[in-house]
């Protein structure tokens, strides 16, 4: 699986990291009831960074990125996205959500709307974009993810890989500054994984700030500028991908890598 992206030359030189801070997380903690899922998370992400988050099942990866657009609420510490601090203030939450796109493992497309309607819904209702303009934008992004001809179909008529690419296009239509991916390929068959990863690589080449929870280590090596390893709700190790894969420091990281890369 890790070779899925290697047959495509990735243009890393285009991926520039600026010094502008996109996301800042300061000593953030989260509990589910009494269970301490996220423990003292500190993370700063700059504009243009591509971060891959990995770790064993149940380590809190999904919870972490879901906190960034407030699908989950944190109980202590700070999360600041594009200068807006997440609190219970609904206005700030809506503001952050319209700046941050998210792709889910199970796509979460709206089955009662066509692909086009899926893509234009949020721009029309949240951004108040005129319908014609929203449709033009949607068509642009559907072409980008290479499925413009499916625009008038319903999600149920598309393959998994196509659905995930629609989900990416749907998020892009909101012109987000940050994209979050929660295991976007783990519900897909191998040949579809590649088409989705290709789309994600293109995004990275255009300088999108990305946080990806994924087990596609090939993708991490090709695209990420930082890999974060989480275990038991904590950030255990982070490093640039070459060093992370070839010279892991922590015992937990070594164990995880040996399992996932097949010794």
């Amino acid at each position: 699986m890790s070779e899925a992206v290697t047959d495509r030359t990735v243009n890393r030189s285009a991926m520039q990291v600026s010094d502008e801070v996109a996301i800042e997380i300061n000593s953030m903690n989260k509990w589910y009831g009494t269970f301490h899922v996220l423990r003292d998370i500190n993370l700063t992400v700059n504009q243009g960074e591509r971060i891959v988050i990995c770790g064993p099942s149940g380590s809190g990866k999904s919870t972490l990125i879901r906190c960034i657009n407030r699908l989950e609420e944190h109980q202590s510490g700070q999360i600041i996205v594009e200068g807006t601090e997440l609190s219970s203030d609904l206005k700030n939450i809506d503001k952050v959500r319209s700046e941050v796109g998210m792709c889910f493992q199970h796509f979460n497309l709206f089955p009662h709307l066509t692909i086009m309607e899926n893509c234009t819904l949020a721009p029309i209702w949240v951004r108040k974009t005129p319908k014609k303009e929203a449709e033009a934008t949607a068509m642009h992004f559907l072409e980008k993810v290479k499925i413009p001809e499916q625009a008038n179909k319903y999600p149920g008529q598309l393959s998994g890989g196509q659905q995930q690419r629609v989900a990416i296009a749907r998020s892009l239509c909101m012109k987000p500054r940050i994209m979050l991916f929660d295991e976007p390929t783990s519900a897909l068959d191998p040949e579809m994984i590649k088409e989705v990863l290709d789309t994600m690589i293109e995004l990275a080449e255009e300088g999108m700030t990305m946080l990806c929870v994924t087990h596609e280590m090939g993708f991490a090596q090709a695209v990420a500028n930082r890999v974060i390893f989480m275990d038991q709700g904590q950030i255990v190790e982070q490093n640039e991908p070459h060093a992370f894969f070839n010279n892991p420091q922590s015992e937990r990281t070594k164990l995880f890598l040996s399992q996932i890369l097949g010794h």
């Binding site: 959500r97 319209s98 979460n108 089955p111 009662h112 209702w125 949240v126 319903y154």
Partner: protein, 436 residues
Amino acid sequence: MSDTHAQTVAYVREGMLEQQAPPTKEAGAIRWLRENLFPTWLNAIMTLVAIYVIWYLLSGLLPWIISPTWFSGSLSECREILTGAGQSTHQACWGVIRDRWDQLVFGFYPQELYWRPVLALVVLLAGLAPILFGRFPKWFLGFSMASPFIIFLLLWGGPIWFPVMVALGFVLGAVAFRSAVRFNQIVGVLAAILVPILFWLFLAEPIADALTSVLPIGLESISSKQFGGFLLSIVIGVAAIVLSLPLGIMLALGRASDLFIVTKLSVGFIEIIRGVPLIVWLFTASLLLNYFLPPGTNFDLTLRVIIMVTLFSAAYIAEVVRGGLAAVPKGQYEGADSLGLSYWQSMQLIVLPQALKISIPGIVNTFIGLFKDTTLVLFIGLLDPLGLTSTIRASTDWNGIYWELYVFIGLMFFIACFSMGRYSLHLEKKLQREHR
């Protein structure tokens, strides 16, 4: 080439197969009979028994139903016709339906004004069309929204300003919601509820009176006591159906909400309303409410009944819709949230369309029950078709007639309820086709 293929395990297809049409089912009536009615001995016996039972029932019923009495003007005339034709007098006397048709349909509505309920029905059907069958021009929806007030004016008459004031209350509520929701969701909802209520209680009547004295246009006023028959059933049934759907949806959303007070209020309302028989609520409407209302207020009994029936069926709708809401996957809520849609937007655009689609059979089921329950108003002295049967029997002409009226009324209700059921099936199929 071919013999090497036969000997080795390896196989290479040399040409691809063209697509072929699926095999058609063999047709023919005999084949159908054998497959569906007489496939085995046991099934054959059961088929024969069923045919005998059907024949037995029909041979008893049909002679009673097929009776040449359509033009008789009284029960005794019926007997004359039947004995004159040399038939047994144990046959239906359908003259009563023809003779009392107007009364069964319109109750005691003034005869020269029958055009008003008929026109109201046309307005109703036209107003419902875009909602029931979709894809109509936008301005038509405006007509749909105005149609309840037009219908009210046509049926009850009176000065035009009263329904205008009621409509204005709704407009004010919408405006209040728009302007208050910017500060806070809850304030918006409260404003949307309070502003129209205050307007109706304190401002609507004086303004309407003032306007009436200046510009006295309107229709001849009809009192609720003159309503009756199917007109009454349809007025109560349709009004309650149209009103209880939005109310029930709001209650279901309230029950599923995160806000403690809203949840508890919705649950309390739903449980109290549906925990008590409808007939008790109807007695409350007709008797008890007089004690609570300020003396001298003359709050129309039919309107009170409509409100009670609406609340009652809203509680049931709320539970049906709650089931639909629970069936919408969590990912849909998250997908909507992650795009930055507000609560009301995600409900209106994402969650409710899916939840309501799932709830259609339950909702229509509730409506069918509601429509049949409108006959309960006979116990509080309103003359629905069933109530009219005793009025009709009280005349000397038709003293002693029972079955013909009940069969006819039953048939009418059956047609109405069966159509609703068919419509629900049509809607389900249509939505299934659209969404796959």
